[in-house]
């Protein structure tokens, strides 16, 4: 197992406030990793640092291959069509890498809305576009910042199905940031818990799901006692 993403002692500060403080995090090939944490813990800051949109104050980030992100809030090009949103996802690939047909095979729901304005879509459709747009970059690792936030359960199930298929079918590594900790821990192999910019816990997702500290803070206080 080789690491596609590895941060060492990663620290990011905003004008005084420390948002990430010595974060060590690894995502291996073919792996699904969850990152959970309360509001303001620093999750989106980590996403921005991994994507190169924020420069770390110290520490290192190593990405082996291509990383693409589904940003928090979906961040559509609202005035543009679905197809143009997808196409721009392949911007870094150059002209030859901007053909969108493969995305409609992967995410057939998008085919019917390809000429619609992205700004006029439902939240679930926009999240699908955001995933498709990220896939256009032909990533080795996909970072999803808040998959389910504000979406109906049915569409979340669909989106989760797509992520799982991409992971098992194409070996796409996934770093999933998710408010719904139970969903994230069910879906992923390993997980990290971020608290106030530090990694408080990490390990196998199944183990963390049973950890009373995780249960108390992130799973609604219920410890699911088995037997």
């Amino acid at each position: 197992m080789t690491a596609v993403v590895e941060t060492r002692d990663l620290t990011v500060r905003y004008a005084g406030a420390t948002a990430l403080d010595g974060v060590d995090l690894t995502v291996h090939d073919h792996e699904m990793v969850a990152l959970i944490g309360a509001n303001g813990a620093g999750k989106s800051t980590l996403v921005k640092a991994l994507s190169g949109l924020l420069r770390p104050d110290s520490g290192t980030i190593t990405v082996d291959g291509r990383l693409a992100q589904v940003p928090e809030g979906r961040e559509m090009f609202g005035d543009l069509t679905v197809d143009d949103n997808l196409r721009l996802g392949g911007w870094r690939n150059g002209r030859g890498g901007r053909d969108t047909t493969a995305i409609y095979d992967l995410l057939p729901d998008l085919a019917g809305i390809r000429t619609r304005r992205a700004g006029a879509l439902s939240g679930g459709q926009q999240q699908m576009v955001a995933i498709g747009r990220a896939l256009m970059a032909r990533p080795d690792v996909l970072v999803v910042d808040e998959l389910s936030l504000g979406l109906a359960p049915l569409i979340v199930t669909t989106l989760v199905g797509h992520l799982r298929a991409l992971n098992t079918g194409r070996g796409l590594a996934v770093l999933l940031i998710e408010q719904n900790a139970r969903l994230a821990l069910d879906l992923c192999d390993r997980a990290y818990v971020l608290e106030a910019g530090r990694i408080a816990l990490h390990g196998r997702a199944a183990d963390l799901a049973r950890d009373p500290r995780v249960a108390a803070a992130y799973l609604g206080g219920h410890i699911e006692v088995t037997r």
């Binding site: 994507s51 949109l53 090009f77 543009l80 143009d84 196409r87 721009l88 911007w91 901007r98």
Partner: protein
Amino acid sequence: MSDLIGYLVTGLGIGAGFALVASGLVAIYRVTRVVNFAQGAFAVLAAMLTASLLGAGVPHGLAELGGVTLGALTGLLVGAVAVGRPGTSPGTSLIVTLGLGVLAYAVEIVIWGDQPRSYPGVPGVAELAGARLQAHYLLIIAVTVPVFALMAWFFTRTDPGRALSACASNRYAAQVVGIDVRRMGLLAFTLGGALGGLAGVLTTPVQQVTFDSDVALIVNGFAAAVLGGLTRPVVALAGGLLLGVAQTLAAGYGGGAYQVEVALVLMLTVMIVQAARTGPVAETAR
């Protein structure tokens, strides 16, 4: 009746010039959020160079192309100074463009002097449904319409155009997909420079140019652009044409030269109405 048609077509010709200036402002504002006060200078510089080139025996077409190219290069230069440094706020950039516009006066006076210049355009008088008007107005319209069609195609059907539209639509998302928004800002300034240059080159045969002609152009161009919140090229086109026609009608039937006043009243009305509805212009444009 024939008077009216004459005024209308003349107004459309003048308005097309305003629309080109306006669309340059819009092209730049959408991508960079900077109101470019040097926009009129692109037109003046382009017109002055074209006059010199024609004077030196360069044929029509080539001379105008030279003028538009100078407009584009000046646009790039203004962009580099105004938005080239990362982290410059749009407010700071606006002041920079204002300063560069004034600097352009000095350059123009040193090179071309302070006397008005012009050059012949399409010669002769055209007859249109009984109305007689300078044939050159028809050329202005005949060039402007395809230019707007070309822009619509560029912004929606080409990847650089889509990338510019993407920066206008969601700057953060543009960065997420790897678009260099600073470079796109420079591209927008270059495009704005070319459009401003084209306006100057096209209108100079019917309206001679002096170093300070940029004031009337920027006032009219801004008035047209602000109709669409500085972000909608099609509205800027309509606004420019409307303004041109309104001014020609005012001058034709009202007598006197109230051209700039018409633009100012329209602009202030639009801005006050928009401000009352949704806050300052910068906000409505989001």
